[in-house]
């Protein structure tokens, strides 16, 4: 994985010093909260319901054991012994003190990490496929491209006061595991005439007006990537709406201008940008790519696996994925135990995952947008030992992509924007559907819960989505069906009137029962829903 050189290290070290100075000026009263807020946000520091919250960047979701251990250390030393992995492949801490924040950033910088631009109206942490470099179906590793974009977007002077936040994802396979088309810019690496380049999708997003990004260019060569991204951003910075916060994302601009007109403006800007010498040479991409070369796989490793332990068999079947190298597997650690808080991990669990990565996965971990952790390169002969160690620590729920593997935003338990709690719903659903046989009978079922319209819990993209709203001071939950964040991207639709907490869980049971009744052959829930249509599900729920 990528390693900082002296320049990268100097940039993050300087940022720590800069923020230390800004915090001192705030504490001394030289900055008002209004003036300080954008500065702290660009360092990932929010003021949430109970305290400050710090969001740490995990670029394209990749980190090593030492970095993971530092995340555990921060949880122990500065927080309340746990962290929360987020839907942007980051981690956030809920109980941070402002006066500690500079020290935390310094600790992060010591392991080549930071919290730069994890909030604010700027280009956020670049996300990617959590199986990058391991997936059997990728045409290239997308992470060198994501790293080029990370460096370009960090401290970008022109694009740090955008109309609204800006999120970019990069993938390199036809299967989309990163919700690419629900990003402000989604990039898919593709080949054209033997050359690797980027296909651009612009104007997707969730929030209160969900949109699927249209493709605006089928191929941008590697040595024009940055000028094309600059062109997309400049048109947005100049013309994105600033009169209404809820209409300020680029998706609204692309929608209001129309894809053709937005594209025309970008192309015009691009023609100009190309002449400005903004693009790193291909040697820079090559330099970065070297860091992402394959680890030293044992090419004689066996594909044989002893599956005589039935619990292990279930976990292998559900939580491992095909690796590009024979004899290896991608192992997914589910952070969704029954009654657990989706995405939360204690410092002890974080430390253990760091150890296991060092022992069994060439010192690499990934964070997924579904709030799980991946060990990307595990030798099949190590899987059983690995599973036993995970199981001892409560880290082996065999529920990847099943109904209890839900995404949930922090909701009203932690978030000052939320209207309703999300976590208790995820917990109760995990209890209602705790029987693993029943979950497996239901098959792949992406359940996503948001505690407000901002959609951090990706409810628009859930096969089943839940949106918490405030109805006259009480929590109320709307049910949505039919969304997908994968390559078959679709937006879920609301079934009808909302429910209380138990009511919405009953309704979920009703729709899953109907699915089991209507299912043909090996259809997934989403396939049956698309074939049968909303009406039948509505009828079953509301009569």
């Amino acid at each position: 994985m990528y390693q900082y050189d002296k320049y990268d290290q100097q940039m993050v070290d300087t940022r720590v010093a800069e923020f230390r100075d800004q915090v001192e000026r705030r504490l001394a009263g030289e900055l008002t909260e209004d003036q300080f807020k954008p500065l702290r946000l660009m360092n990932g520091l929010y003021l949430q319901l109970h305290a400050y919250m710090l969001r740490v960047a995990i670029p394209y979701g990749t980190l090593n054991g030492k970095q993971m251990r530092m995340l555990g250390h921060i949880a122990r030393k500065y927080d309340r012994d746990y962290g929360h992995f987020t839907t942007r492949q980051n981690i956030q801490y809920n109980w941070i003190k402002l006066e500690d924040a500079p020290d935390i950033l310094a600790d992060l910088a010591s392991v080549e990490m930071h919290a730069i631009q994890t909030s604010g109206n700027c280009i956020r942490n670049i996300s990617s496929d959590q199986y990058a470099g391991a997936a059997a179906d990728e045409i290239a590793d997308p992470r060198p491209w994501a790293e080029i974009l990370r460096q370009w977007s960090s401290f970008h002077p022109e694009f740090s006061y955008l109309p609204r936040k800006f999120k970019i994802a990069v993938i390199a396979s036809d299967e989309d595991r990163a919700a690419m088309r629900l990003h402000d810019i989604g990039i898919q690496l593709v080949h054209k005439d033997g050359e690797l380049g980027a296909k651009f999708f612009v104007g997707g997003g969730m929030g209160r007006t969900p949109m699927i990004a249209p493709e605006i260019r089928d191929f941008v060569p590697a040595d024009e990537l940055i000028s094309y991204a600059e062109a997309c951003l400049r048109v947005y910075n100049r013309y994105g709406r600033r009169d209404n916060k809820y209409k300020a994302r680029i998706k609204i601009l692309v929608h209001e201008l129309g894809k053709e007109e937005y594209t025309r403006q970008v192309e015009e800007e691009f023609a100009h940008m190309k002449t400005l010498g903004l693009n790193p040479p291909v040697e820079e991409l090559a330099r970065i790519s070297e860091y992402f070369a394959d680890p030293a796989f044992d090419t004689n490793a066996s594909d044989d696996l002893d599956l005589s332990d039935p619990d292990f068999n279930l976990w292998v079947d559900q939580n491992t994925e095909k690796h590009k190298q024979a004899g290896y597997a991608i192992a997914v650690i589910s952070l969704k135990p029954t009654s657990g808080i989706p995405g939360d991990a204690s410092s002890a669990q974080i430390d253990l995952m760091a150890d296991l990565a060092e022992q069994y996965s060439f010192d690499e971990l990934r964070v997924t947008h579904s709030q799980n952790i991946v060990l990307p390169h595990v030798k099949k002969s190590d899987l059983y030992t690995l599973w036993q160690k995970l199981d001892e620590a409560g880290l082996a729920p065999a529920n990847l992509d099943l109904i209890t593997d839900s995404i949930a935003c922090p909701g009203l338990d932690y978030c000052s924007l939320a209207n309703a709690r999300s976590i208790p719903l995820a917990q109760k659903i995990s209890e209602r559907f705790a029987d693993l046989g029943r979950q497996r009978e239901l098959g792949e079922l992406k359940l996503k819960i948001s505690g407000c319209i901002n959609a951090c819990g990706h409810h628009h993209a859930g096969h089943i989505g839940i949106l918490g709203v405030d109805r006259k001071g009480t929590e109320n939950y709307q049910l949505l069906l039919g969304g997908s964040a994968a390559e078959d991207t679709s937006l879920a639709k609301i079934t009808g009137p909302g429910f209380d907490e138990d009511g919405v869980i009953d309704a979920i049971e009703t729709v899953t029962d109907l699915y089991l009744k209507e299912r043909q052959e090996d259809e997934r829930f989403i396939d049956t829903y698309r074939r049968v249509g909303m009406a039948a599900f509505k009828e079953a729920i509301y009569g």
């Binding site: 050189d5 320049y7 990268d8 100097q10 940039m11 300087t14 010093a17 800069e18 100075d21 800004q22 000026r25 030289e30 003036q35 954008p38 500065l39 109206n121 460096q151 370009w152 960090s154 401290f155 970008h156 002077p157 022109e158 694009f159 740090s160 006061y161 955008l162 940055i226 400049r234 910075n237 100049r238 600033r242 100009h272 400005l276 010498g277 903004l278 790193p280 040479p281 040697e283 820079e284 330099r287």
Partner: protein
């Protein structure tokens, strides 16, 4: 009105800036003021006539002026480019990178804090109109 901060050696331009609309109508003005929603590209054919372009920042969070500045410098404008209005000390460094060389903030800027901020980062990741060599260029010569 607090004192303007300038990073230029020439004398302050005395003529008051006129609005973009007035400037486009009025051939003899040499200073113009543009608002965030106005298109800086309209000035490109007329840059030779201008000694001062004042880019207005009614609210510090409105970043359109950064793009206006870059566009004007990319088009070869060499005159004074001034950021005025709600300009905060922690923004001056990025504004300098986008080509601003004068500042007329609504509230006084602590010049000591500003100097520290301007000297803080030795290198930069991306190319802009300030022509500093980005880090990738340092890596590859």
């Amino acid at each position: 009105m607090v004192e303007a901060i300038r990073f230029r050696d020439d004398d302050t331009h005395e003529e008051p800036a006129v609005s973009l609309e007035a400037f486009l109508d009025q051939s003899n003005a040499t200073a113009v003021r543009i608002e965030p929603g106005e298109d800086a590209r309209l000035l490109i054919p007329l840059l030779d006539r201008l000694a001062l372009i004042d880019v207005s920042f009614p609210a510090f969070g409105d970043g359109r002026g950064y793009s206006s500045a870059q566009i004007l410098r990319e088009a070869g404008y060499k005159g004074e480019l001034r950021a005025s209005g709600d300009v905060l000390v922690d923004q001056v460094a990025y504004m300098r990178r986008c080509g601003f060389d004068a500042f007329a903030p609504d509230a006084a800027i602590d010049t000591k804090v500003m100097e520290e901020a301007l000297g803080r980062y030795d290198e930069v990741y991306q190319g802009t109109t300030d022509n500093r060599a980005p880090i990738w260029k340092l890596r590859h010569g």
